[in-house]
């Protein structure tokens, strides 16, 4: 299945799903009209409580990102395609804030941390070229 779930992570499982779907829609990986796997399919694949998946999907539906198609299940809503730079920045912040805290705890200077981050980005680019 398309979700990457870590049940012992501090983030509740439903929130992990919500954030992943948001990111995939923002990046265009999921396009308007695309079907999402059924609640049951996700629950069975990951051996988790179906209610957790259901909760995530309901939240995304309330947000307007997903819509329920009768007889089919959940699909990406028609108007959710355009994610502004602002929305995307809001999605990136939590990961960067966590990294920033780690930088301070370990006593790196801002310059050292930024250099390390650039290295990580470069490594990703290199890997993407190879794939």
């Amino acid at each position: 299945m398309i979700f990457d779930i870590a049940p012992t992570a501090p983030t509740p499982i439903y929130r992990q799903i919500v954030e992943q779907v948001r990111r995939m829609i923002a990046s265009g990986q999921l396009k308007p009209g695309d079907d999402l796997p059924s609640v049951r399919a996700v629950a069975m694949h990951h051996a988790i409580n179906p209610m957790t998946v259901s909760k995530a999907y309901s939240m995304l539906e309330t947000e307007g990102l997903l819509e329920r198609l009768r007889g089919v299940g959940m699909a990406v809503a028609g108007n959710s395609g355009k994610s502004t730079r602002h929305d995307k920045a809001a999605m990136l912040r939590p990961a960067l804030e966590t990294a920033a805290r780690t930088v301070r705890q370990l006593g790196f200077s801002d310059a050292e941390a930024q250099a390390l981050f650039q290295t990580c980005l470069n490594e990703l680019t290199k890997k993407e070229r190879h794939d």
């Binding site: 049940p7 012992t8 501090p10 983030t11 509740p12 499982i13 439903y14 049951r40 629950a43 069975m44 990951h46 051996a47 988790i48 409580n49 179906p50 209610m51 957790t52 007889g71």
Partner: protein, 286 residues
């Protein structure tokens, strides 16, 4: 549909040969459809609680109801909707799996032999071997198949997976939620299953539970939704200011820290981080 699948009121249980209460004023309300993890050290009272809920043990004080029926006077209609697996499988030693299914199946109208056989295959359980010749793990699997085969609305499981390997546990966790012979899209079949499961394998529980109940020394320490615990329970130093008494869930004297509910101590909302079930368990038992 009943609002609470399980209610317990002020249960008190003291075994005859003991001066200690196995259950000390335990009250509980479990909404229908909840999946409750019952967590605590050995001897905390988890099995005693489950036995009182299911009506196998009579408490000295207090009462319990399952699906709106008194635990000590379950009628047949209600009994058919309940599945229970005790900590030590309670099997007939001279019967094999098929014989168990046939004998016990007769007592239930919703018994589905195909479902039972499918589950046995999924769990890799040999059905032709006499129970007393089965390994501990296979005995446990048979016990679970028997608890699930009649598609119960309420499942009470006492450390059901302690002898199972990780792959089998995954298969069982999937089976706990599935109803292979009930159409999921048919109208009116949103019959949710309520589950209460005690286990030491906390990583398993984290995948499954909607609620967690922590027990220690016969008492319930805290019961709440798992999502709420992740979002609101935090560990802070003992000498922290601005902490209302009702925000403190547990004092850890050894490490000089408090487990607080930040809904009652909002200034600490962004302190620290969410705790895993393992960490919460350690904290509550220190």
């Amino acid at each position: 549909m009943t609002e609470y699948a399980i209610t317990a009121d002020h249960l008190r249980l003291r075994p005859h040969d003991s001066s200690v209460y196995a259950l000390d004023d335990v009250s509980l309300r479990i909404p229908a459809g909840a999946v409750v993890g019952l967590v605590g050290r050995n001897g905390a009272g988890k099995s005693s609680l489950l036995r009182c809920l299911v009506g196998l043990t009579e408490p000295q004080h207090g009462s319990a109801m399952l699906l709106d029926c008194p635990a000590l006077a379950l009628d047949d209609a209600t009994r058919e909707r309940i599945g229970y697996a005790p900590q030590l499988p309670d099997l007939f030693p001279w019967m094999n799996g098929y014989e168990h299914l046939r004998t016990i199946g007769r007592a239930y109208t919703r018994w589905n032999e195909d479902r039972a056989l499918t589950l046995a295959v999924q769990l890799n359980l040999p059905l032709g071997i006499k129970a007393d010749k089965l390994s501990g793990g296979d005995q446990q699997k048979l016990s679970l198949v028997l608890a699930l085969a009649h598609d119960p609305d309420l499942l009470l499981l006492d450390e059901p997976m302690s002898s199972l390997d990780p792959l089998t546990r995954r298969d069982f966790m999937r089976a706990m939620f599935s109803a292979p012979f009930r159409s999921d899209t048919a109208p009116g079949t949103s019959r949710e299953r309520t589950i209460i499961i005690s286990s030491h394998i906390l990583s398993d529980l984290e995948r499954l539970v909607s609620h967690v109940a922590f027990m220690r020394d016969g008492r319930l320490q805290v019961v709440d939704s798992w999502d709420a615990m992740l979002e609101h329970f935090r560990v802070i130093p003992s000498d922290s200011p601005d902490v209302a008494a009702d925000a403190v869930i547990h004092r850890n004297k050894r490490d000089a820290q408090l487990l607080v509910d930040t809904r009652h101590a909002p200034s600490w909302r962004d302190a620290g981080r969410a705790l895993t079930l393992d960490e919460l368990f350690m904290e509550l038992n220190t």
